[in-house]
């Protein structure tokens, strides 16, 4: 759809070895003011390691937008725009449309510029969903990256439609009558897949190479692509800051957050999840994932343990469904 001359990534870049990733200068810079142990901060650093040339980033309002742009300081080494909360995808639409027409008119250099829209779960699942749906329907060439920390952490840990069942937040507190959030997490990737996108994937920062590779694949799509990145928030989850990456691993190992990619709707498990599908004995109980997190602490009281069982059952059911989806589309 675009008439651009894209810089082809060199083979060396594409490998994304540990050495390559570390050697590439950060584009999300040190000195940002995210909390100690912030999962999304690692996610943003890694995302930017996958860029392949000139890139413009736009970001929805949220904790990661704030921590990287407290005037007069910026943590963004590339052109970056924030306008509001619900409109990251509309920003990307405007940027992409402007680049396209100005390139055509010779007002800017004839080079491809990647556009990345970043938003948290609030700016994606909830307030940003309409703009996202509109932008991908129109087919703008951009990569939308959701960093999902499962709640409104910037405003002090309120529930979003991404907050998992059972989690205690300040607007779904665990009380004597109500044991935390009662509703399921919204299946955002299914919604994006239903838009018939060329590339939809999930990732977590623990599996960093998988994450960086998926960002690059999303950028290479000519048209919209969607990446859902699981990003533990020690502040909001009441978890140990040192265990942020461990939770992003446990989420995969327990199949709470399996990682996969769908190219033109064909869904395939990514290696860490594929390993579990091949060796089901490696699948960890959700209890292992839940128990260290303060937001789920109340579930381990005797009167609530049935909820842990329910979460296990629901997780198993979703996992089985995903396996079927992968097999069905991938005979």
């Amino acid at each position: 759809m675009s008439t651009t001359t894209t810089t082809t990534p060199t083979q060396a870049e594409w490998k994304f070895t540990a050495k390559d990733i570390v050697a590439k200068p950060d584009l999300f810079l040190s000195g940002h003011r995210a909390c100690a142990g912030c999962g999304p901060a690692t996610v943003l650093r890694l995302i930017m390691k996958a860029t392949r040339g000139p890139t413009i980033v736009t970001q929805a309002t949220g904790c990661m937008e704030i921590v990287g742009s407290i005037y007069p300081y910026t943590s963004w080494a590339l052109p970056w725009l924030h306008t509001a909360f619900e409109n990251a995808a509309a920003n990307a639409s405007g940027i992409e449309a402007a680049l396209k027409v100005m390139r055509k008119k010779g007002k800017i250099k004839n080079e491809h510029i990647d556009v990345i829209a970043l938003a948290g779960d609030g700016g994606t699942y909830d307030i940003g969903l309409q703009a996202l749906s509109g932008a991908v329907e129109r087919g703008h060439d951009f990569l939308f990256i959701l960093y999902d920390n499962e709640g409104y952490m910037n405003t002090g840990i309120q529930r979003s439609s991404s907050t998992p069942i059972g989690a205690s937040t300040t607007t779904s507190p665990a009380g004597t009558a109500v044991p935390g959030k009662l509703e399921k997490k919204k299946p955002i990737t299914e919604i994006m897949l239903a838009h018939d996108l060329e590339y939809v994937a999930t990732a977590t920062p623990y599996y960093w190479k998988d994450l960086v590779t998926k960002v690059r694949k999303g950028l290479e799509v000519e048209g919209p692509a969607f990446l859902h990145v699981f990003a533990p928030c020690p502040r909001g989850w009441r978890s140990e800051p040192s265990k942020t990456m461990e939770y992003s691993k446990l989420a995969v190992e327990s199949c709470v957050f399996p990682i996969w990619e769908a190219v033109n709707g064909k869904r395939q498990l990514s290696t860490p999840s594929k390993v579990i599908s091949l060796a089901p004995q490696k699948k960890k109980p959700v209890k292992d994932y839940l128990e260290g997190q303060g937001r789920f602490r109340h579930l381990f009281k005797p009167q609530n343990t049935h909820i842990v069982d329910e979460i296990q059952q629901a997780t198993d059911k979703r996992w089985q469904k995903l396996l079927q989806q992968c097999e069905l589309t991938n005979p």
Binding site: Y71, P72, W76, A84, N91, A98, M102, I108
Partner: protein, 415 residues
């Protein structure tokens, strides 16, 4: 499609267009890069007409059919931040949905041009013309200009790009036209050639900024010169940026007049000084102050009254932001009684918006007229020219007695 003009006074093509079509035509001539819009009555003709230009390859514009007005103004803001010339149009509920981003656009200093086909706000829902929608955006930081007819709508759009994109201004601007009265009414519009318009408007200009890399560069998103746009500024700096916006408005005050006068040179058309437009006001004893198409209707009444020996006049506010307080003070200094006609309402307020502003502007004057407020035309409520005579009759009485019986009149309302 058009002939290059050799003459000093370029020939103009006379076209029958309604206000919306005139706006779309002007936008086409201004070589806009990105139009992002969402349909809403009575603005829709603008985007329909512009879509035709796109479909027929008559413009080199990226037209983004967004899923809401919120995304339309956002896309314009972002495209403008990327360096593009941008345009959108809206009305009523659409403008209200843009509300949040109108403030962001002004604070972000992106020169988006917006046409507002003024329409009532819900509830009850009503598609007809009044000024409730744009008056609710008074403090959004946009430049507000209102046209009197389709011709002025055409002329004002062309001026708007040049005003908004002036590096000393760099503010968004809207051109208001009365819903249906202007937007849908076929009129004669004299149009300039594409070449004349493009030479007048020129390429988009950029102010310069100094980035975190210490480079002083044009204000736009450019991978060669990375900059951070739209950060959070807290107690220590937010206020300073608001003060900068005020300064930009002061610059706009000068630029609106200057660009209006330059445009008069190439078109032969002017509207007062670009800020206010008066009719038989110099020796007037009574006057009506109003915004938009109503001024046209009032001219006939004033002519009749003049024939009858009554010294009546009109002050039309063309530019509402920046507010031309000094011009208004001068224009009204010798008037005995003034009626401010507001096509919007501020429930619970002391009169409506324009009235409050005009009265405020005259407070410091040693000598000022008696000022009364007529709220009229809400939801498109029509008044005949003869009805408006009643207002002048009231003013004659006020001027004679030196006092007004009441300050606020709900004109045309069944009491």
């Amino acid at each position: 499609m058009t002939q290059p003009q050799q003459q000093e006074q370029p020939k103009q093509k006379i076209v029958a267009m309604n206000g919306d079509e005139a706006i779309a035509y002007a936008v086409k001539q201004c070589d806009v890069d990105v139009v992002a819009a969402y349909p809403i009555t009575p603005q829709t003709i603008i985007v329909e007409k512009f879509s035709e230009y796109v479909a027929n390859g008559e413009v080199q514009t990226e037209y983004v059919c967004t899923e809401s007005e919120h995304s339309a103004i956002t896309a314009c803001l972002a495209a403008g931040a990327t360096g593009a010339r941008t345009f959108t149009a809206s009305a009523s509920a659409g403008l209200a949905l843009m509300h949040e981003i109108l403030f962001v656009t002004a604070g972000a200093r992106i020169p988006v041009v917006l046409a507002v086909a003024n329409r009532a706000l819900s509830s009850p829902i009503n598609i007809h013309g009044d000024h409730s929608d744009s008056m609710a955006e008074r403090d959004s930081g946009w430049i507000h200009i209102y046209a009197e007819n389709a011709q002025e709508a055409y002329d004002s759009i062309i001026q708007a790009f040049k005003i908004a994109e002036d590096p000393t201004v760099s503010l968004p601007i809207f051109i208001g036209v009365d819903g249906f009265t202007i937007s849908h009414t076929l009129e004669r519009v004299d149009t300039l050639t594409d070449e004349v318009v493009q030479t007048f408007v020129g390429q988009r200009q950029y102010p310069t900024v100094t980035t975190h890399e210490g480079k002083t560069v044009p204000f736009k998103l450019d991978p060669a010169n990375p900059m951070t746009m739209g950060p959070i500024a807290l107690q220590n700096y937010y206020y300073e940026f608001k003060r900068q916006q005020e300064e930009a408005m002061k610059n706009a005050y000068k630029k609106i007049q200057q660009i209006h006068n330059e445009y008069a040179q190439i078109s032969g058309r002017s509207y007062g000084n670009g800020l206010i437009d008066t009719y038989k006001l110099d020796d007037a004893e009574i006057a009506i102050t109003v915004i938009g198409s109503t001024a046209g209707t009032l001219k006939d009444i004033v002519d009749q009254l003049r024939d009858e020996g009554i010294k009546a006049g009109i002050l039309r506010i063309r530019t509402f932001r920046p507010f031309p307080a000094e011009e208004i003070q001068k224009a009204l200094q010798n008037i005995k009684a003034v009626a401010v006609m507001d096509k919007s309402m501020s429930p619970g307020g002391l009169g409506s918006t324009l009235f409050s502003e005009i009265r405020n502007a005259l407070y410091d004057q040693k000598q000022h007229p008696i000022i009364v407020n007529y709220i009229f035309g809400l939801g498109g409520r029509d008044s005949s020219p003869q009805d408006f005579r009643k207002i002048y009759a009231d003013l004659c009485q006020i001027a004679k007695t030196g006092q007004a019986e009441k300050t606020i009149t709900y004109f045309g309302l069944r009491e």
